[in-house]
Amino acid sequence: MNRFRYELRLLLRSRVAAAALTLLLVLSAVAVGAGLSASARQTALIDRVATAQARDFAAATTQYGKPDGEAGYAAYYTFHLTSDRPSSLAFAAMGQRDIQPYVLRVRLLGLQAQLYETETVNPELALPGPFDFAFVLIYLAPLAVIVLMHDLVSGEREAGRLRLLSALPVTPGQLWLRRAGVRLMLVLLALLGPFLVGALVAKAPIWGVAILSLVAILYVAFWAGLGLMVGAWGRRSAFNAATLVGCWIVLVLLVPALANAALSRAIPVGRGVDLTLAQREAVHHAWDVPREAVMAPFVAKHPEWKDKARVGGGFHWKWYYAMHEMGDDGVAGQVAAYRASLAARQAWTERLGWLSPAAAAQSLVHRVADSDLQAHLAYQDNVTAFHRHLQDFYYPYLFSERPFTRKDFARAPVYAPRGSSSSTPVVPLLALLVLSLSAWAGGVVGARRTVS
């Protein structure tokens, strides 16, 4: 304890080290605050939309829920609310939640045209991502570690104390490892302190908090190990700092950016809006073809309506909704290809963790926080399932040509939020563990060879 007190005093005497730790603490606290605030904003927005939805639904009920009401009108004008509330850990890693829709009001019309309806996001503003705990962890914490570690050994040499320290009966490995350990611990305190407070406020699950903390520890440990390895080389402090900043640029910025560019070329992924357009084109095309061309495949898919699927020459809701469903089915191949490409990119992104600890940490924190692409796809899956419930609810009225009354509105399905899709992917976790252990092994070997 005595030694720890001295190490702490000596470290905090360095204005740069103290400033780096203070700044990291402040940034971590601000990021956690911003994350909690963003999370609360999304929740509040969902609640506001729910209130407005209730009014809208009541109005539709009044207008279309008459004793002789037509289900076709009711289904056309009634929106059903779906939403994806942020997980209790989303405050730490907002991931794609700031660019993907988390509120969708869907109708019985073709689903694919509704799934990608979202507000336009300025791509340049979206590029750096939100300022949250994950940003501080992945981009800024390594810089704080570099400030604290770059002169671990060289600082003593430059101050003229290294020879005296080397002459003490303590192995160089023990001496520098302990000092590196103190620095690592202080960075983790500055980083994780605000996060843990945020987790308490957000009532985050212990398991998720533990995994996210583990990711932070492994990631910061990687940089501390690298700092120890470079710091033990015997070069000057300025050289060490430049080398470590170079590593930061390569591992945090260049490798992920280059890998992203390579992945974009190797696994091209269409845009969601292209699916919307394709579905709409399919529906518009259906207006111009004989009705049999629409109704035959529909009946093949829904044999239960075989006897009630005949439509005359004029407009009929049966035909209209069959057009929409067949429009969805017409782009099913494109949807499957789109999602397969996304899954393939995701898998490669996870493998990228073997090259870049930043990529590994990023995959992990967003997966654990349930705010990544996978989480958004899980929301889409849940909306798709809900849309099927809507079809199952409305089709009997439409095909049996039963009146749709006020009481029937009350029986309409209500969207049940999806369960958490949070998970701990093994590949990036293993990659991060191996990279951290390798960096420390290199650091330990370097520290043991340190001589005056």
Binding site: N2, R3, Y6, R9, L10, R161, R163, A167, L168, P169
Partner: protein, 238 residues
């Protein structure tokens, strides 16, 4: 033997710094190793401290082979470098306490005070940060650290370089005290006068080996003029 060098050889590339260096220092003896620049004095200290491995031969500290267990050897040695640099933000007391903690030695307050007292550092300075200390005062703190460690061997690298005559005299008195306590002292120095005043034996290092060795007989000290002549001869040989 407290310190023993047997056939030490040290090469740096093609440069042969030590060529079969052999000498020893007994408990309670002060041995001054004299030699010109590049004679191998610092290399000799490095080998005793385990900071370098000899190309051949062995260095022993209290019968511990330095090469096989450098930490155990260093546990028996207190080393005072030529330019004492300590932690400026800590006081003398704190510096010693911290470095004793690193050395896993006894950090009792009384022990530290006794050591500071022994080196003659004024009490008012004990709890002042080292930032304002003179070179002599820093030297005293380093020696206090050595005393507080209560080890049997003292290695001194140019201990009186830059000290004023009074500080040098104080320092020599400290060495006398250490000798009385049975501490074996090896000092590498250019200071002929100082060596003549305190050393029991003086070795002249030239061409990586002891060129000549003089022993103080009884209460007779060394003749400085003769020492100077010998030093120049050794330098010429190198």
């Amino acid at each position: 033997m407290a310190l023993e060098a047997v056939g030490l050889e040290q090469n740096y590339g093609t440069q042969r710094v030590l060529r079969g260096l052999t000498f020893s220092v007994r408990a309670g003896e002060i041995y001054a190793l004299l030699g010109g620049n590049g004679a191998g004095k610092s290399t000799t200290l490095n080998l005793f401290l385990g900071l370098a491995r000899p190309t051949a031969g062995s260095a022993r500290v209290c019968d511990v082979e330095v090469g096989s267990d450098p930490a155990a050897a260093r546990a028996r040695i207190a080393y005072v470098p030529e330019n004492v640099a300590l932690y400026e933000h800590l006081t003398a007391r704190e510096n010693i306490d911290y470095l004793l903690t690193l050395a896993r030695a006894d950090t009792a307050g009384a022990l530290i005070e006794e050591a500071l007292d022994a080196v003659g550092l004024v009490r008012e300075a004990w709890d002042r940060r080292l930032g304002g200390y003179s070179k002599g005062m820093r030297q005293k703190v380093a020696i206090a650290l050595a005393i507080a460690r209560r080890v049997p061997v003292l290695l001194l690298d140019e201990p009186t370089a830059g000290l004023d005559p009074r500080a040098t005299a104080d320092f020599h008195r400290l060495l006398e005290t250490a000798r009385i306590r049975g501490v074996a002292t090896l000092m590498v120095t250019h200071d002929l006068l100082g060596a003549a005043e305190v050393a029991d034996r003086i070795g002249f290092l030239a061409e990586g080996r002891i060129e000549a060795e003089l022993i103080a007989e009884g209460t007779e000290r060394f003749d400085v003029r003769a020492l100077h002549q010998r030093y120049l001869q050794a330098g010429a040989a190198a």
